[in-house]
């Protein structure tokens, strides 16, 4: 029997990293599409070289993907089914087919448009803070500093805090207009304490969520930054490029892919933010912090309107897909090398 793992030790299977990098950048420069690169590489050929027609692959990889799809499809199809039903849990007598009524009702909710806008504001606001802050932090942590390990631990810690706890800490101990730390600080400075959740409700929610996701962005960006070739950096420095130039022409392009990843992953979670809102503002004042997820929450667990909440869920998925398509158009190219 063969023992393929032994062969790993033979370095000639692995092109030297530099060679790989060069090859990749050459391909990128010459504008070759991903497919040409892939096809030159038999192992990435969809059919293991047994067939050339992509649609006629032997289905050896089927089961795992199919299982995955079943995992995904069952709840989604149940949601779609319920979205066409009249079904309020507290009023079981009124069940029946509803047609598109649930969709119309959800869509005409007075809070609907603001909820969409708030959802986007939360996503964009948090992305902006975490990416700008994350780049700044990553640049800072990339410097040689004393106690680097401890600093890094401190910076990543918020990522491990569960959302309800994070919201409670910020609401009670940091932003509370009477007893919060920020209120104490402003009183110390002789200022009127800010009533965060009444005056700047959406901003407050964004700050809390951004605090939770900043470590994630920082980590990914820092890892990417550390892979930037030291020689390239030094060469640029020798050439007399100042910091701004180096950052703009060398660092930022290098980070593009990492930034894309941060945007993609965070967007997934940010579209569904609701625990922080529930704990802090309950969607108010007015609809100031009602986002789509909270609106669905209200329909499902205050009104117990299963049909309406399901319709809201389907609308949310459709919107998420629109965002996803938009994202892939805008930044997705960075993912393909």
């Amino acid at each position: 029997m063969h023992q393929p793992h032994k062969r790993l030790a033979r370095s000639n299977y692995l092109p030297h990293p530099e060679v790989r990098a060069q090859r990749a950048s050459k391909d990128a420069l010459s504008g070759k599409s991903r497919r040409t690169i892939r096809n030159r590489n038999p192992a990435r050929d969809p059919c293991h070289g047994y067939a050339t027609n992509q649609n006629a692959c032997p289905p050896d990889d089927g089961p795992a993907v199919v299982l995955l799809l079943i995992w995904m499809i069952v709840p989604l199809s149940m949601t779609i089914w319920y979205s066409f039903q009249n079904y309020n849990m507290l009023n079981p007598a009124m069940r029946g087919f509803a047609g598109f009524f649930n969709y119309v009702y959800f869509y005409t909710d007075p809070a609907f448009y603001q909820a969409i806008i708030n959802t986007l504001f939360i996503v964009v606001g948090v992305l902006f803070i975490t990416i700008v802050g994350g780049i700044a932090l990553a640049l800072l942590l990339d410097q040689p500093i004393f106690g680097q390990g401890i600093v890094r631990i401190l910076v990543i810690s918020p990522f491990f805090v569960m959302p309800p706890v994070a919201a409670l800490i910020w609401k009670n101990m940091i932003m509370h207009p009477g007893y919060g730390v920020l209120a104490d600080v402003s009183r110390f400075l002789g200022l009127q304490p800010v009533d965060w959740f009444a005056q700047y409700p959406l901003t407050s929610v964004i700050i809390i969520v951004a605090w939770q996701w900043l470590p994630f962005a920082t980590l990914i960006l820092l890892t990417a930054l550390q892979s930037l070739d030291e020689e390239q950096k030094e060469a640029a420095e020798m050439d007399g490029a100042n910091f701004a130039n180096r950052f703009w022409y060398l660092t930022l392009p290098h980070l593009a892919r990492a930034i894309t990843v941060v945007i993609l992953i965070q967007t997934i979670f940010l579209l569904a933010v609701y625990a922080e809102i529930l704990v802090t503002t309950n969607g108010g004042p007015g609809y100031a912090t009602t986002n789509l997820a909270f609106l669905i929450y209200r329909t499902a667990l205050l009104s117990y309107d299963v049909g309406g909440a399901s319709a809201g869920g389907v609308i949310a998925v459709v919107l998420a897909n629109i965002v996803a398509i938009f994202l892939m158009r805008a930044v997705g190219r960075n993912l393909d090398r």
Partner: protein, 436 residues
């Protein structure tokens, strides 16, 4: 032979004790102080009923409500005893989701329950939940500040007087808020207070045809009064203050007046937590001279879902937790002041309790004054004092509460908030088939 029968005997003993031990009931309850105390004292129950084991699910009020509602509506059958409010009881009982409580034992004395409370837990004369504690609303005020400003709390204050007093005290004592009221959005937070306020202004949520009434002058008058008063004499950040926040403010001496649930009285008068324990006076919830004092009435109750397979054990537990003997147990172990209030007439006739709880009399007066079948001077198609006992109220009340807290925070005008509330309520009531 001997060995065999011995073994058989042993087996049957094991089998017997096995079935006896199998009776484990799951109790879902809120994490209020009184319930946590009950959990602590439950050893007494298990000592008396070794065949019943208790399993607790203790949760914060809103999460608990979500969970038990989902469970009972979808017959999840996860709980044998549920702690629910008098808002849910009539709605659920009509759906057939609750068991009638008829196995509470001969010594239970159902007639001792306060009539207002008992009425709220009965449908067609059958009792569907047993009250654990009950509350109404009243004024708690600082006697020293009133004296300092030369004011005297009348026997039955009007809102007009309250408004003047709050502004005067605020002017005399810049560090103190003239009045603290709920502002945080939620059907059980600001809407509880505002609904009671509007009741006393002669307003109502719906007319006899279920038409929302936010466009009526009573709402405008009452809500404008509330917003103006809070802006001029209330604490900053009032739009995020609920019961908790106001309680803390009052305990720290930052409020001259606070109108809220009567259970608060035992917290503000407790010298361990309150800096103003010896300076608190109590008065009946204000009216507008029409004799309507808001009709606030709430109770936390224990009920058995129809899906429970252990209904007998569940009722045995409920009987233990809501009987007179439990009151005495708490009194013996933790003192009379910690007894769960507001459920039984006999408690308010008990001298030891009246002595330990200076707020006993105003509490009883408030509870007896509450009539949840006629909350407004005008006729209404619903029951409920500070809430409307229809399933839609949780969602609707919370949405309206959001609009009203926005008006309080100054992000929306009073007129806008009322107009939008009217719009939202009409939409919801039409959808649910109330408005034909």
């Amino acid at each position: 032979m001997k060995l065999r029968s011995a073994l058989l005997g042993a087996c049957s003993v094991v089998a017997l004790s096995g079935t006896a031990l199998a009776e484990t009931i799951t109790i879902a309850t809120v994490n209020n102080g009184d319930m946590i105390r009950m959990q602590r004292l439950a050893e007494d129950f298990t000592a008396k009923h070794p065949d019943i084991e208790l399993q607790w699910v203790t949760l914060e009020e809103n999460v608990l409500r979500e969970r038990v509602t989902t469970d009972i509506a979808a017959s999840g059958g996860q709980y044998d005893v549920m702690t629910i409010g008098n808002y849910e009881v009539p709605i659920w009982a009509k759906q057939g989701w609750l068991l009638e409580l008829n196995g509470l034992g001969d010594d239970y004395d159902v007639d001792d329950l306060l009539p207002a409370i008992r009425g709220g837990l009965s449908v067609d004369g059958k009792l569907y939940a047993a009250p654990f504690y009950g509350e109404s609303a009243m004024i708690m005020y600082r006697t020293d500040l009133f004296e300092g400003s030369g004011l005297e709390m009348p026997e039955s204050p009007t809102w007009e007087f309250i408004g003047e007093a709050a502004r005067k005290i605020k002017a005399d004592n810049p560090d103190v808020n003239g009045i603290c009221l709920r502002g945080k959005a939620g059907w059980g937070e600001n809407m509880a207070f505002i609904t009671a306020l509007v009741n006393s202004y002669g307003g109502r949520w719906f007319d006899e045809n279920w038409q929302p009434q936010f466009d009526q002058p009573e709402w405008k008058e009452a809500f404008q009064f509330y917003v103006d008063l809070m802006n001029e004499a209330g604490p900053s950040g009032a739009s995020s203050n609920g019961f908790n926040e106001n309680l803390t403010l009052f305990q720290q001496g930052k409020c001259a007046m606070w109108m809220d649930a009567t259970v608060a009285a035992s917290f503000v008068s407790n010298p361990e937590d309150s800096t103003v324990a010896d300076k608190v006076g109590y008065a009946i919830f204000p009216d507008t001279g029409n004799g309507n004092h808001g009709h606030w009435l709430w109770s936390w109750n224990l009920a058995v879902p129809a899906s429970s397979a252990k209904a007998d054990a569940a009722q045995t537990f409920i009987a233990w937790a809501t009987n007179k003997a439990y009151t005495e147990l708490v009194a013996e172990k933790e003192g009379w002041a910690n007894v769960p209030p507001g459920t039984r007439t006999s408690l308010y006739e008990n001298e030891a309790y009246k002595e330990a709880a200076p707020f006993a009399e105003p509490t009883l007066a408030a509870m007896n004054a509450a009539d949840i079948t006629n909350p407004s001077v005008k006729p209404v198609p619903y029951t409920g004092g500070q809430f409307v006992a229809i399933p839609e109220f949780q969602g609707l009340g919370t949405t309206v509460g959001q609009l009203f807290s926005a008006a309080l925070a100054g992000q929306m005008s009073v007129d806008d908030a009322l107009a939008q509330a009217q719009n939202v309520a009409t939409r919801e009531m039409t959808r649910s088939g109330y408005i034909k």
